[in-house]
Amino acid sequence: MTAVAFCALAACGAVTRWRVGAVLPRPFATLLVNIIGAFLLAALVDSQGGSDTAVGVGGIGALTTFSTLVDDLGALWAIRRWHAVAYGAVTIVFGVGAAWIGLQIS
């Protein structure tokens, strides 16, 4: 049952991330899903720092991405370097900040 839920949620997470990318311009889509996912995962965490495998590893893990973040950084770096630096900094500060807020309410 967990395996079915894992696959279903991972598929939903990946497709949601893809469709957000069709609505928002490039780096903002990745930024949005990553911040929302960071908050959700932290908010659902248990006292040992673990999470439900299907929801946490499957759904939220697939919703957020690190590879597209790196690809976005590369694309921004090629146009305006400070945009890449700012995007990386904003992603980390707001992503970790969202996770920290999530931990406070978990």
């Binding site: 894992f6 990946a14 991405t65 590879s67």
Partner: protein, 129 residues
């Protein structure tokens, strides 16, 4: 909202979904095979970033099936930001500032060069004998 669910979505979504499930299962396997979750996180993010570097060179158009399945789906599913953010926030919450810094720096220092190196290798013209 038309772009959220526009023409061609039904046709393309299975590529993203199947790739995303495969990538997420691969991440789960790595996570389970190792007893150090942070190290597993660093590995999947670096490997997935490198793989995406190859995919974006080989399939430059964003709507190609291979790009959707391997890039958006598999690499997106294999790598994760939420676990990274939670790992760092958890360390900060427990006053492990040096650990939080180390995870942040090593995530970037592993994934970015891996991506750039993979792009270079993928762009190199085929060597014929």
């Amino acid at each position: 909202m038309a772009r959220l669910y526009g023409a061609g979505v039904n046709r393309a979504a299975p590529y993203v979904a199947v790739g995303g499930v495969a990538g997420s299962l691969a991440r789960w396997l790595v996570l389970n095979a190792m007893d150090r979750p942070t190290l597993a996180l660093l590995i999947v993010n670096a490997v997935g970033s490198a793989l995406l570097g190859v995919v974006v060179v080989r399939w430059p158009r964003a709507d190609e099936p291979e790009r959707l399945a391997l890039g958006v789906g598999f690499c997106g599913g294999l790598t994760t930001f939420s676990s990274f953010a939670l790992d760092v926030a958890w360390r900060l919450e427990h006053s492990d500032i040096s650990g939080a810094t180390a995870v942040t720096v090593s995530s970037l220092v592993l994934a970015i060069p891996a991506y750039l190196l993979a792009r270079r290798v993928a762009q190199r013209p085929e060597i014929s004998t």
